[in-house]
Point group: C2
Chain length 423, copies 2
């Protein structure tokens, strides 16, 4: 982008940006666009769920009394059948657990150190283990690896998904590479949905590690922002067709469907992977919160009910994403100092500023009262080699707060670009 920057235009823009910045600082703002949290209006959509079970309504079909232990090792059948088409995993290969799909991912990585995975010869304990991290990506994925002593190797994200030329060479050559993190639909933060070709190549590629796993975090499977829904090929089918049925662990949750923290999570995969997961999980817990699962069954009714609910989310948050696009285009479009995506779904806008200025932008914004996700957070180790990526999370603030925060942000992008390119 910097090729196209006209220095005189940027210098002029800096003048007006300086005066705006001073006004922002003087105004004593306190705005936060750091994390992908639902706003209150989104949470209100699920308020009917808190009392959807009247006293005495506790019987799941066919499991029976959802209040007691046992009876549903994979989670309620009705809930698995409701979400199976949405997460593209057959209901009998799907497991429902409590809030936090992230904790399921942590559990799967941790358990791999104690028990061999299907296809593996031994547990990972004592071995060097590496996961590929398509970046920019999700910081909490990277944190799970840091927590468990797993090395991360950055690979590039393209407009179609991870750079498969790079991925294929790495996994073929190095048996310590045991996994890859993927947010395959409306990716965090770049909004990319993996192309059919990327899905096929992930499923088909030759891996040196016999127990390699794709951690397929389909967090935004149904989180559309427009009427034009991205289509994602079935990774479970692709892996089975490629002769690698056990290659993928699928994860999803309703954290951004019902209540963040009060939702349910899903694990899916081949029959062998489901057996492995249930065997590991069965040693730590007698079972999940089936009452909360029944709440979800009653609240949605069926798959169409979930989709109708997501349409209401979209009505609330799509205008916020439009506000982001409008502000970025209006304030920065003519200057060539930034690039960004306009996602069809998900929770983020990924903003690339002039290389070497992302940290400075975040610092300037902070000093003007606007909290942004730390620059670099979308890369392993918090280290963005280009120092240019900033993740914008528009859902939580009101549109008014968001517009003010974006005004600060674009002002800081201009100031930092000018410092870098003109001084």
């Amino acid at each position: 982008m910097t090729d196209t920057i006209d220095k005189d235009t940027l210098a002029a823009a800096r003048e007006s940006a300086r005066s705006r910045y001073d006004e922002y600082v003087a105004a004593g703002l306190k705005l936060d666009i750091t994390r992908g949290k639902p706003c209150s209006a989104q949470l209100d959509l699920s308020d009917g769920m808190t009392d959807v079970l009247p006293a005495g309504d506790h019987t799941a079909d066919p499991e029976g009394d959802a209040r007691n232990y046992g009876g549903a090792p994979q989670g309620l059948k009705a809930l698995r059948e409701m979400f199976a088409p949405l997460v593209d995993v057959p209901a009998d290969q799907l497991v429902v657990r409590d809030n936090s799909s992230l904790s399921l991912m942590h559990f799967c990585v941790a358990s791999s150190f104690f028990h061999p995975l299907p296809g593996g010869e031994k547990p990972w304990a004592g071995e060097k283990v590496t996961f590929l991290a398509p970046s920019p990506g999700y910081d909490r994925h990277f944190a799970v690896c840091d927590e468990l002593g797993v090395d991360l190797k950055t690979v590039a994200m393209t407009a179609d998904g991870p750079d498969m030329d790079e991925v294929e060479v790495l996994v073929a050559a190095d048996s310590s590479i045991k996994g890859i993190w993927c947010v395959p639909k409306y990716s965090n933060p770049t909004g990319v949905t993996y192309s059919d070709e990327v899905v096929r190549r992930l499923a088909a590629m030759t891996t040196a590690a016999p127990d390699f796993r794709i951690y397929w975090d389909n967090a935004y499977a149904i989180h559309h922002l427009t009427g034009e829904h991205d289509e994602l090929a079935s990774i479970v089918d692709a892996c089975a067709e490629a002769g690698h049925p056990d290659r993928v662990f699928v994860f999803a949750s309703t954290s951004k469907v019902t209540f963040a923290g009060g939702g349910v999570s899903f694990f899916g995969g081949s029959p062998a992977n489901v057996t492995w997961f249930l065997a590991r999980d069965g040693m730590r817990s007698i079972g999940p919160d089936k009452i909360n699962q029944l709440r979800h069954v009653r609240f949605f009714g069926d798959t169409a009910g979930v989709q109708a609910h997501m349409d209401k989310h979209r009505e609330i948050i799509a205008p916020k994403f439009e506000a982001v696009g409008k502000a970025l285009a209006g304030d920065l479009g003519a200057l060539g100092v930034a690039e960004w995506n306009e996602p069809n779904g998900g929770y983020f806008v990924s903003l690339d500023v002039v290389p070497g200025t992302a940290k400075r932008v975040v610092q300037l914004a902070k000093e003007a009262g606007v909290a942004l996700t730390p620059a670099g957070a979308t890369f392993p180790g918090g280290d963005d080699p280009g120092d240019r990526n900033i993740r914008i999370a528009p859902t939580f603030p009101t549109t008014d707060e968001l517009e003010r925060a974006l005004g600060v942000l674009t002002t800081c992008v201009i100031l930092a670009a000018a410092e870098k390119l003109l001084d």
Copy 2:
């Protein structure tokens, strides 16, 4: 006990037992007294909890909106304050999490392999790790160790708790001994509440491992069966007073208070342990289900509300424990072929039969349609060296079913004793 058995009396008892047994087999019974599950009437006590939050009631004080992420890393303050006196841990040293305290124990053991504990120099990965298993004990504790590659060393249970003479010698001599499993109140299965002296010695003993932990599973802290409540000394205080504040991890849950699987769990310990736990837990989850925590706050109101609720449980299950005592005494008391406890709380009666006959009793009962916990399950590896302990779980069946099952059980105890001693 076998010293006191009169063989003529036993032989006569066998005759009538044989004819009863044939009748049981012919009746085609199907009874189950295997696991400590609440019965429907107990679960009904909490039915008011499913709709205790009307739509719009989602604000916790002081945390704010319980529907969203964040704001309560330790769990809701009101819930911590409500349960702090019940689990004997200060509210600010208590953490509330989702259903399944067992999964917290698993998480703590597993995390110890990746991160040093307070007091420890390095993680446990690559080391031989051993936990002491006072036995008879809880089979799922032992299963957590099996799952995570931790060796178990059996120590004897006495009427006051673990045999501390044995424990002190072992932990002082062997730095691979990193923990001990304790169910300190109304112990599973022997019903023992640890004496003040045992609590003091556990806290004060010299351990070769600097990161030794007592896994204090206070599962039955408030699960009284009589008006005479056992008193348990504070392990947190005892450890602090002994100069070992970080020695204990406390666990508890409401699985047998509200809904099995739909309750909340607690982790407690020293400030350093709480910091360690939150640091580890924060890498796998953005936070617990605060909505379910708020449900518990609203449903109980205060600590006295919890206690009043437990009185209602007691009214339902105490008669079942009385039925067990009556059947065992009536059928076996005069024969000297068994010993058992009459607990003041908890979920189990521990029955010791003639050594070498427990497996046979369970097999005979199975053939007559009564499922018992597998003989040996209360010992590490499922191996009861005396083959004599059988755990009876009276809560789930109706009193009628329970009485029929006990009739079968005592009949089988007599038959197995006679086989062993007379044939």
